[in-house]
Amino acid sequence: MKNTVFLGTLAAAGLAAGFVSAATLDDVKARGELNCGVNTGLVGFAAPDANGNWSGFDVAICKAVAAAVLGDASKVKYVPTTGQTRFTALASGEVDILSRNTTWTFSRDADLKFTFIGVNYYDGQGFMVNKALGVTSAKELDGATVCIQTGTTTELNLADFFKVNNMTYSPVTIETNAEGEQQFLAGACDAYTTDASGLAATRAAFANPEDYVILPEIISKEPLGPLVRHGDDQWADITRWAMNALIAAEEYGVTSANIEELSKGTENPEINRLLGAGEDNLGAMIGLEKDWGKKAIVGAGGNYGEIFAATIGESTPIGLARGLNAQWTQGGLLYTPPFR
């Protein structure tokens, strides 16, 4: 009899533990903390400082979501993931959202069962070489040894690029960006390839950044964005619109300086809806409070443009230009659907 009860309990526990819970929002609220998958360390995008506080362009998304959901941008547990471990971490429920310069591709969306909630950085794959090599174009890399992070789309682009240009190469597979940096600096590879933004960030951390050059060829499209699991549309909506709020804020001129002022109500109904200042309660539609948008923007440290400028923009050591990542009104690709 006792055994039967025990088995029954075991089976019930098994069933309860067996499902990856569908309601991520409830889980996060109950936990009081957002688990956010980030890079193991890429200056500008996601890197911990000397005190272990994470900051960066991708980290801002985590903060925005945490602020919108929990009302506190600091309630984030950052889970460093490598190119290899990131998808398993997300699929298994170890992280609620993966914000780790991940390329949006068909198979990741459809086959790996993830939902990309948008693009926060339009990127492309490039090459970095030592200036002493005298290489000025990626087409001169025939026969080169190339360092590449394993488990990334760049691995496949690289193979295609060399095949199309009828060149040969020898890949050196590395696990993390730090390892790639070390191998590249030791001369174990002639070229280091990853997303151009990643190259710029990596180079910024070198002792002599001016000795290295990023080649002009961009060999692929790499729309980088945060992603969540398939199957929880409410959570996907929350994260998607938290990110859109940052982009919309820039478009409407909402900054961390004037947000308190604007959230008291403005003439622009769109801003009112974004900040929860007007009659419309958009927050209720996604299970959040009315002023979720304001919290997200404040928590992330400003609008998209402010975050960009503070983490990876031209005034930082990484020095990336807005380029494709400018607002659509400025000739870029950033275009958020309306808050209505």
């Binding site: 055994n3 088995l7 075991l10 089976a11 098994g14 533990a17 067996g18 499902f19 990856v20 569908a22 190119g83 290899q84 998808f87 398993t88 699929a91 198979s107 990741r108 086959d111 790996l112 069962k113 090599l133 890399l141 025939d142 026969g143 080169a144 040894t145 394993t150 488990g151 990334t152 691995e155 496949l156 690289l158 193979a159 295609d160 095949k163 190469y169 020898s170 890949p171 050196v172 597979t173 590395i174 696990e175 191998q183 030791a186 001369g187 174990a188 590879c189 002639d190 699991r229 398939h230 199957g231």
Partner: protein, 417 residues
């Protein structure tokens, strides 16, 4: 069944299953079995439900899809147009290569260290003790990384060999270049190659087959020759001179074959970014090999020492009394007897080497873990299938090694009559 029918027919009560010592052990075993099966069923059920919840199916179809990535060390042909299954084969061969190299080297080194550790020479004994304690008490991953760091940081980059006054130069008559990426060695080639035969999975070089056939033939003939000499010696008491005949039989056919095939070695030449023309032995392979060898040799040394220690002292004394020198005593009397103690634990060390070779990812060596369990897993997102397949393959390799070693063990163990 038998137990049940043997029980007194009179009164069988359910409580007897617990209180009657005749049934109790069976009851306990059945309960444990049920629990075990329930646990297994729960795991499978959990997996199936979770896969269904994620909308994923369970299929190995991806093995026939195009892999799309390149691998830097291939023992058989592979391009990025090959399938994931083929990439898995490349990884498997790389695993087997490094495991085989490490097993051989670790055994040789381990036996030498183990024997030297028993040396009456104080300094030799202590030095080998230091070796054993140092290498077996530090994780093998660190040794692999240390070896790799030495290769990449200390050796010159290929472009250091360039120019009028290169900072680095090739060794061994300009035929071998040690670089921080690989060691470029001459590539053996044939002007009049016999070609290859395709056996489906890979090509087999007919040249290699011919060379193996000739060497085997030579060795067989040489053995005949020696057997004949022994027969003559047994009959007449005088052993005929055989050394020049042996050399002739062993070397001349091979030399003739190589000349006929037009054997030559192509030297590596620095062209563009890297050395071309020769064979590149990657530093990741060398580092992994070195790390695994040094680490496991320390364990094998201890096993050998224990094995030798297990042979009674009387055996050595008897051999000395017969006038055998220490070297001959060791190789003819002690080691053969020690083998039956040494071989069983040696099997586990070989298995350890094979399994530890999956640390290859740390130095970018594309073994099974790097291809099937690394890139393929990531590009296809088939975690469960890839990991299960990888486990199955490692299990199969380990069982095969242990099976082969058990056969060997049976041949050296003490024959009891």
């Amino acid at each position: 069944m038998a137990t049940v029918t043997d029980a007194p027919k009179a009164s069988f009560r359910l409580s007897m299953l617990i209180y009657d010592t005749r049934y109790r052990s069976i009851t306990i075993q059945i309960v444990v079995l049920l629990l075990f099966m329930a646990g297994a069923a729960w795991l499978v059920d959990n997996t199936v439900r979770n896969l269904a919840a994620l909308g994923k199916d369970f299929s190995f179809g991806f093995l026939w899809n195009r892999a799309g990535y390149d691998i830097n060390q291939m023992l058989v042909q592979y391009t990025n147009d090959s399938t994931h299954g083929r990439a898995m084969l490349i990884g498997l061969l790389n695993t087997l290569l490094v495991a085989f190299m490490s097993c051989v080297a670790a055994t040789v080194l381990g036996v030498i260290i183990g024997v030297l550790r028993l040396s009456p020479n104080w300094i030799v004994g202590r030095l080998t003790t230091v070796y054993v304690e140092m290498f077996r008490n530090i994780p093998v991953l660190l040794w692999i990384l240390v070896a790799y760091a030495i290769f990449t940081e200390v050796l010159p980059a290929p472009n250091a060999f360039r120019g009028e006054n290169p900072t680095a130069s090739m060794i061994l008559f300009d035929s071998v270049a040690l670089t921080n990426r690989y060691t470029a060695i001459p590539d053996p080639l044939f002007y009049r190659s016999l070609g290859n035969i395709d056996v489906g999975l890979f090509l087999i070089s007919l040249d290699l087959l011919a060379i193996i056939a000739v060497i085997t033939g030579s060795v067989l003939v040489n053995r005949k020759l020696l057997a004949h000499a022994t027969a003559v010696q047994n009959a007449t008491g005088v052993r005929p001179v055989t050394w020049w005949k042996s050399i002739l039989v062993l070397l001349v056919p091979l030399a003739l074959l190589l000349i006929a095939l037009g054997f030559h070695a192509e030297r590596p030449v620095l062209r563009g970014f890297n050395f071309t023309g020769g064979l590149d032995v990657s530093n990741s392979l060398m580092a992994l090999w070195l790390g695994l060898t040094l680490y496991t040799a320390a364990f094998i040394a201890e096993i050998v020492r224990a094995g030798i220690g297990a042979v009674s002292r009387g055996q050595t004394e008897a051999a000395f009394a017969l006038g055998l020198r220490p070297n001959r005593t060791m190789s003819l009397v002690i080691l053969p007897q020690a083998l039956r103690v040494i071989v069983p634990p040696l099997i586990s060390q070989y298995l350890n080497i094979t399994k530890n070779s999956s640390l290859a990812i740390a130095v970018g060596y594309m073994d099974l873990r790097g291809t099937l369990g690394g890139i393929t897993l990531n590009q296809t997102g088939r975690e469960l299938e890839c990991v299960l397949l990888m486990m199955l393959i490692y299990l199969a390799i380990s069982l095969m090694i242990s099976g082969a070693m058990n056969v060997y063990n049976n041949s050296v163990k003490l024959k009891e009559r």
